[in-house]
Symmetry: C2
Subunit: 147 residues, 2 copies
């Protein structure tokens, strides 16, 4: 498996062990991980703390995202895709997009390169979680929103 996705998956599993939503992310620049994080909705009581947002928070004020790649175990949603577009992250690598296509098409329309690794490990982790905690997953997705 892609070594950076291995680390994103480790973040997701740490989140699961904490009782949270099992999605993890890492931010990579020049082959080095400069930020990592996992969804913290439950742990920090923070609805905005999706994995990619936690990762970008933890990377700190790097200022220039032009040479970065954002890895996430899931395809980023519109919140996280919004961060990608706003800060000009040029490349996103997702562990899977079977759980949801998220902001994939919108990211592409903004010139972001999007790769879907379509990994069973990532998908199974989400499937197990969504099956056990459908209400928490709905909350995290903003499932009350008209789609």
């Amino acid at each position: 498996m892609d070594p950076f996705m291995v680390e994103a998956l480790a973040e997701a599993r740490q989140g699961l062990a904490e009782g949270g939503v099992p999605i993890g992310a890492v931010l990579v620049r020049d082959g080095v991980i400069i930020g990592r994080g996992h969804n913290g909705r439950v742990q920090e009581g923070n609805p905005i703390l999706h994995a990619e947002i936690a990762c970008l928070r933890n990377a700190g004020r790097i200022g220039d995202y032009r040479n970065t790649v954002l890895y996430s175990t899931c395809m980023p949603c519109f919140l996280c895709g919004g961060a990608v577009v706003q800060f000009g992250i040029p490349r996103v690598v997702a562990g899977e997009a079977r759980t949801g296509r998220g902001s994939w098409d919108w990211l592409k329309s903004h010139g972001v390169e999007v790769v879907d690794l379509d990994l069973d490990e990532c998908w199974q982790l989400m499937q197990g979680f969504v099956g056990r905690h459908p209400a928490l997953w709905a909350e995290d997705c903003g499932a009350f929103a008209p789609r």
Copy 2:
């Protein structure tokens, strides 16, 4: 002035007094403010903590955003607009959009009602800040991103 925008502007001014980017936001449900915040990039060293994100964080896990209105002293950027779309916030009220159109058109394309109050108070606060701190403003905007 709209009383909720008065509160958003108070948040923005508090941020300025703290040495931060002067943008404020409040989240309103059924005529009551249920969350408020201001940009915390400088204060918390957190690039993701735009005013609207801070406001949504501080509102906590409300789960259902269908009856909420997000007020911001500026038109939300794509990060903050992404949160609006993801969580299904149906209405956004901005203090001004002269500093930038942000995600206005994209929000409208997702059915979000967007109101621009076009207030001199909000615009002058931003103009003064951008003139004094252009590098900080560029950083907050992700200005290195291709646009």
